[in-house]
């Protein structure tokens, strides 16, 4: 899950893309409007240990999490300032005992709620209670299409079986289902089967998301980086399936930016249309933003309102728009199309978040990084470093994190 959360990806004729309409009403020089959707990372606790987890390496401990009352206050404030959708995520959001209460509160204040879950902690009763509380949509992550690969990647025995069961309950309760499949070198061979699995589970949407390499995924890059042949095959499979399954399954495809020519418009541009709230209450321009050292992020526990933090805080304004750019971004004709790519990736790979994202061919680092990725993909170092609160645990023979 990355910039898939940006709204209105597919521009329609009529009715039109909500974001485009709302954005067209103001110039970039004016105040940035409040995002339509916000990601609430309720906790970093998770029974899974996926080696590409999008959470930061420095995970928020359970004790630092916002309380039920604090989250409720946040939800009320978000609805009041114009946020329309809330994505409950984590870590594993169902690890919070108060999730039903929070979903009910979101419903009460008029927010459309999505649950982004690994599903392994769900029971039919719990899911039913969430539906009764007004939950609008369920997104379940899958690590493969069968238990051998999937449970190894998740680092949890029987995880795949539980996910399949929870996906069936979701549809039985008439909740729309999105299957999220994070793809990498060690599961890309299952893509066609994963697409069929999503159809068999009666999912409405499938997100085929190639791993984005920062945080945990960067530590595991050698074990995850696909080969260029795999990427070409992936694009072919997705394109074929998108046509064949029109009207049955909508497929969103996130390409791996290491093999792209242009960088991704990460988060729709820093501080332009997205923020998330970390388990401890930090308001962040992206869920990986805390990996950039030297930026101070304001908290919902501070004296500032969320709207103030969004509009005025140093962290949001630092890389907003194009004023912060250096060359080659500064004079680039694509600067307002991709906003220089991903700040977190620029920081992770070049040491300066103000540099051009090396995914861009115009970055002086691009060639070097692309070569490195190719070498890593070819080296077949397949051992994972599992994500956990201890800073990660290396996979051992026969003990796949489970």
């Amino acid at each position: 899950m990355s910039d898939l959360l940006a709204d209105g990806k597919t521009a329609g004729a009529a009715p039109s893309d909500g974001l485009a309409v709302l954005e067209s009403q103001r110039s970039t020089a004016e105040t940035f409007g409040i995002p339509l959707a916000v990601l609430a990372e309720l906790t970093h606790r998770c029974p899974l240990q996926c080696p590409y987890c999008s959470n930061p390496i420095e995970l928020d401990r359970g004790g630092s999490e916002l309380t039920t009352d604090e989250w409720k206050k946040v939800l009320s404030e978000l609805a009041e300032i114009g946020v329309l959708q809330i994505h409950f995520s984590g870590g594993e959001p169902t690890a919070r005992k108060d999730l039903v209460e929070l979903v009910q509160h979101a419903t009460d204040v008029g927010l459309y709620s999505n649950l982004i879950t690994s599903a392994v902690l769900l029971t039919r009763e719990k899911l039913s209670a969430l539906a009764d509380a007004g939950l609008c949509h369920v997104q379940i992550s899958f690590q493969g299409n069968e238990p051998i690969v999937a449970d190894r990647v998740a680092g949890l025995r029987n995880a795949h079986e539980k996910k399949i069961e929870a996906a069936k309950w979701t549809r039985e309760l008439d909740l729309p289902l999105t299957v999220n499949a994070v793809m990498h070198r060690q599961n890309l061979h299952q893509l066609a089967d994963i697409i069929q699995m999503a159809v068999d589970l009666d999912a409405d949407r499938l997100e085929v998301a190639n791993v984005q390499y920062y945080g945990w995924a960067l530590k595991n890059r050698a074990a995850l980086m696909p080969t260029i042949e795999q990427i070409e095959e992936t694009s072919r499979i997705v394109e074929e399936a998108a046509v064949r399954l029109k009207g049955i399954l909508a497929i969103d495809y996130v390409v791996p930016d290491y093999y792209a020519l242009r960088p991704k418009k990460c988060m729709g541009g820093w501080g332009r249309q997205f923020f998330n709230i970390s388990p401890a209450g930090k308001v962040l321009p992206c869920h990986a933003a805390e990996s950039i050292t030297g930026l101070e992020f304001e908290s919902v526990r501070s004296n500032h309102s969320i709207a103030w933090i969004w509009q005025n805080s140093e962290a949001f304004n630092r890389y907003r728009g194009t004023g912060w750019m250096k060359e080659p971004c500064k004079s680039c004709e694509f600067r307002e199309i991709d906003f220089g790519g991903c700040r977190c990736q620029a920081f992770a790979l070049t040491g300066d978040a103000g540099n051009t994202d090396p995914a861009c061919t115009l970055s002086p680092m691009h060639e070097q990084i692309f070569k490195q990725a190719e070498l890593e993909a070819a080296a077949h170092q397949d051992r994972f470093l599992y994500r956990n609160f201890a800073g990660g645990t290396l996979e051992t023979e026969g003990e796949h994190g489970a």
């Binding site: 329609g12 009715p15 039109s16 709302l22 114009g82 329309l84 949509h137 159809v199």
Partner: protein, 103 residues
């Protein structure tokens, strides 16, 4: 399972918004919005008016009758527009049909 989930809109259709799609007035931006999984759409005024008629009981033919009277416009032209608009929404997954029998 691999049946198209989309409907084909005709005069006889009795469309409604599916459970997971909400039509809501956004007070902050002063526009009507359709909320759906990972999507926010901004329907125009006419679409909003038609969507308010989509209750799963009223047929598309009845909607056209009602709008033709209200706007004193030719019914055929209105029907064509309404069907096209609803079909567009249905194709995007924001409209379903009232079920004849309970599942």
């Amino acid at each position: 399972m691999a049946l198209s989930r989309n409907i084909s809109v005709s005069e006889a259709s009795r469309p409604k918004l599916p459970r997971h799609t909400r039509l809501k007035f956004d007070e902050t931006r002063q526009v009507w919005v359709i909320l759906a999984p990972e999507r926010v759409l901004a329907p125009d005024e006419i679409a909003v008016e038609v969507l308010h008629l989509c209750d799963g009981v009223r047929s598309v033919a009845e909607m056209a009758d009602q709008l033709a009277v209200k706007y004193a416009a030719p019914r055929e032209a209105i029907l064509t527009d309404v069907v096209a608009m609803l079909q567009d929404l249905a194709d995007k997954g924001f409209l379903t049909e009232a079920r004849e029998k309970t599942p």
